[in-house]
Amino acid sequence: MSLSSKPSSSGSAPKSPGSKQRSSGSGRRTTWRDTLKALPWLAPALVLIVGVVFFPAGLMLFNSTRDLAISGLDKGSVGFDNYATVFGFSQFWPIIGRTVIWVVAVVGLTVVISLGLAQVLNKAFPGRQLVRLAVIIPWAASVVMTTMVFYYGLEPYFGVVNKFFVDLGLIDNPAGYGWTKNPTTAFLWSIVIAIFVSLPFTTYTLLAGLATIPRETIEAARMDAAGPVRTYFAVILPQLRGALSVAVLINIINVFNSLPILKVMTGSIPGYGADTIMTMIFKYIELQRKVDVASALSVIAFAIVIIIVIVYVRVVKPLKEV
């Protein structure tokens, strides 16, 4: 799953039911009969939703309670044994902890940097189009490709980043340092890359938010002798709340579910010192060939995301207008 390509397609999804309700809700109440009449028009979408969302989800739930042989044969139900395996794994809690660090660090830093970038790009200056284009590029490139570029750059012996550090004299060993071969540095570099590829979407969402702020409010603040800092925190930031909260929500989901960056950057490291839930699911499938246990962990991951989203939606009310 890619970090950067998803938001564009599904970013509008949470909004649409709400906006539809608003337009029709002002008139008369919709009844079951109306729904039934609308069914022929809704059917294709419903079929798609059932086929693409509910069927795989159901299958994943089902698989998580089965004993699947390496060859792919289904050997019957095992109840909740697969879940017991997941929770019984000694590295389970460290992995959960690392997943939290991963999401908080990537989303937090991405949003802070994007707020700055959006502010800069919102000002008129010569060459603004070019700079806006440059910000989009990490979004246009494939995440795996971007990560591979970093990965090879960080390789000892031939990586440009290592070469650079060695030439500056910051690293003594002429072969360079194995950035991607040690859990901590590989994980930190993964965070850097994840921020890099999350910036375009976040920046543009915030830029769109900035464009909706009426100039009068800023002028009014200036008339009242508010300094730039006060204006930003008291006038601009509150009005960005809608854009900001949507950007944060979608980033949380995307970053939580991100596999490719960590897979490429930390895939060669033995043990589980740099794993998050997603890479652990992958290791269950790839190395241990336990599709059943992987399904159980997927269900747990799914539940965690749903809980985060519900709490977030309740607390922040991102879709409520200011």
């Binding site: 799953m1 599904s10 999804a13 949470p14 909004k15 649409s16 039911p17 709400g18 309700q21 809700g25 939703i49 693409v52 969302v53 795989p56 989800a57 299958l59 994943m60 699947l68 042989a69 390496i70 060859s71 792919g72 044969l73 289904d74 390789e155 000892p156 012996y157 060993n173 002429p174 072969a175 360079g176 194995g178 991607t180 071969k181 040690n182 929500l249 989901i253 995307n254 579910n257 596999l259 895939g267 060669s268 490291i269 033995p270 043990g271 589980y272 699911i281 499938i285 190395l287 241990q288 060939r289 399904s295 991951a301 799914f302 995301v305 749903i306 989203v309 519900i310 309740r314 879709l319």
Partner: protein, 413 residues
């Protein structure tokens, strides 16, 4: 209204989440149209030429057998085993499959016996050692396809420079020579030791078996044994005394071998195709190929064989499969295939014909001392995975702990 929003958000979450976990249904019908028998044939890529080589074989075969058509599907090694288990789950197993471990399929009763899908002449032409490797409880369920043995590639120039006169034969000499080469500095490493996930089990076998250890047999997997521990301790000694490259625990084999080819590593274990790789990318490299050093210098190497197996699908395709195998294993079809891929042949007739091939000679000579993974044990896949994810921890953890942890993972199963 708030509820709708929450639901909407959940639906969006589901859509985002499930794309990662919901993959895996597919396949194609392999029906018999117009009385033709269609054989679905799933193979991995050994090199860039693999697909073309199989296409040539199939073209020749179809010209001779007009009532059979072969449907080739090529996958990367990374995906191969996932693809085949997905196909089996969907009831679409390939008729012929070129893969690694077959024991899991055989014990699930999915495979034809090898004798049922080959003619006696073809069956008897297989080298007994390799055929043993395809046998589960006395019955062969797969036929060997290619084999490789490993040998130590030595960079003569670096060893000369470091004042090492002869290529090492036992562990003490290897440690000594590697340390001397490492001391040359300038980023040069003495011994290239790839313990990363790519093929940790191979480097593990080379060391653990070097003191007389094994990984077990078709009934039992034995990793945590005194002999294996001795090998693991020697690996640690190599690492601790600075005889290897940095970060051996997470170094992958292929990129590390590239660095050997570039001339930055003194010694590393390689395979027959490595010879071709050096010819292509750095023909000036002054190297020699010698047997792998062991604890006391007695000969030992890791042999790996890949195999072809035939799945029992609806309709009796045994006859068509037999025809295909008989066609493929005749010397004039089989040898060009093996030679182009740079591996060792597994038929008696083939070994005789290639005996004077200079590139393959060092590897063919090692064949009698080759030991194999216990790949007929149904727990081998779990063992393989445990090595890949755990063995590199030797770099930082005590040897007995690492072997114990692998044994535990295998026993849990």
């Amino acid at each position: 209204m708030r509820r709708t929003r929450t639901l909407g958000a959940i639906a969006a979450t589901a859509a985002l989440t499930l794309t990662v976990s919901g993959c895996g249904f597919g396949g194609s019908d392999s029906g018999d149209e117009s009385g033709k028998t269609t054989l679905d044939f799933l193979v991995p890529t050994y090199s860039d030429v693999t697909k073309g080589l199989w296409e040539d074989v199939i073209e020749g075969f179809e010209a001779e057998n007009e009532d059979i058509s072969v449907n080739l599907e090529v996958q990367s090694w990374d995906n191969l085993e996932k693809v085949v288990s997905t196909k089996i789950q969907a009831g679409e197993a390939p008729d012929i499959y070129n893969g690694g471990p077959f024991a899991g399929f055989a014990s699930d009763d999915l495979l034809y016996k090898a004798e049922d899908v080959t003619s006696p002449e073809t069956f008897q032409d297989f080298d007994e050692g390799f055929l043993d490797n395809e046998t589960l409880e006395g019955t062969a369920y797969a036929v060997p396809l290619i084999a490789s043995t490993r040998a130590l590639f030595v960079n003569n120039e670096l060893l000369d420079e470091a004042g090492v006169k002869e290529a090492p034969k036992d562990w003490d000499e290897l440690l000594d020579a590697s340390k001397k080469v490492s001391e040359l500095g300038d980023g040069v490493a003495g011994y290239g030791m790839p313990l990363g996930s790519e093929e940790a089990q191979a480097e593990a076998a080379i060391w653990l078996w070097g003191a007389g250890g094994t990984f077990g047999d078709e009934k039992e997997i034995t990793i945590d044994t005194p002999e294996n521990l001795e090998g693991a301790k020697q690996i640690k000694k190599m690492i601790d005394e600075g005889a290897t490259q940095d970060d051996p625990g997470s170094s992958q084999r292929t990129p590390l071998l590239d660095i050997f080819v570039q001339g930055k590593i003194g010694m590393q274990v390689g395979l027959p195709p490595t010879v071709g790789q050096i010819k292509d990318s750095n023909p000036d490299l002054d190297y020699s190929v010698v047997p792998i050093p062991t604890k006391d210098g007695s000969p030992m190497t890791l042999g790996v064989g890949d195999q072809l197996m035939a799945f029992q699908n609806d309709g009796d395709k045994a006859e068509a499969i037999t025809k295909f195998f008989d066609y493929f294993y005749t010397a004039e079809n089989y040898l060009p295939w093996v030679e182009a891929e740079g591996f060792l042949p597994v038929t008696k007739s083939g070994s005789e014909e290639l005996a004077d091939n200079e590139d393959l000679k060092p590897f063919l000579d090692l064949m009698p001392d080759a030991q194999f993974y216990p790949s007929t044990n149904s727990k081998w896949s779990a063992t393989d995975g445990a090595f890949k994810s755990t063995f590199g921890e030797l770099e930082s953890k005590p040897a007995d702990e690492v072997l114990g942890s692998i044994q535990d993972q295998v026993d849990e199963g």
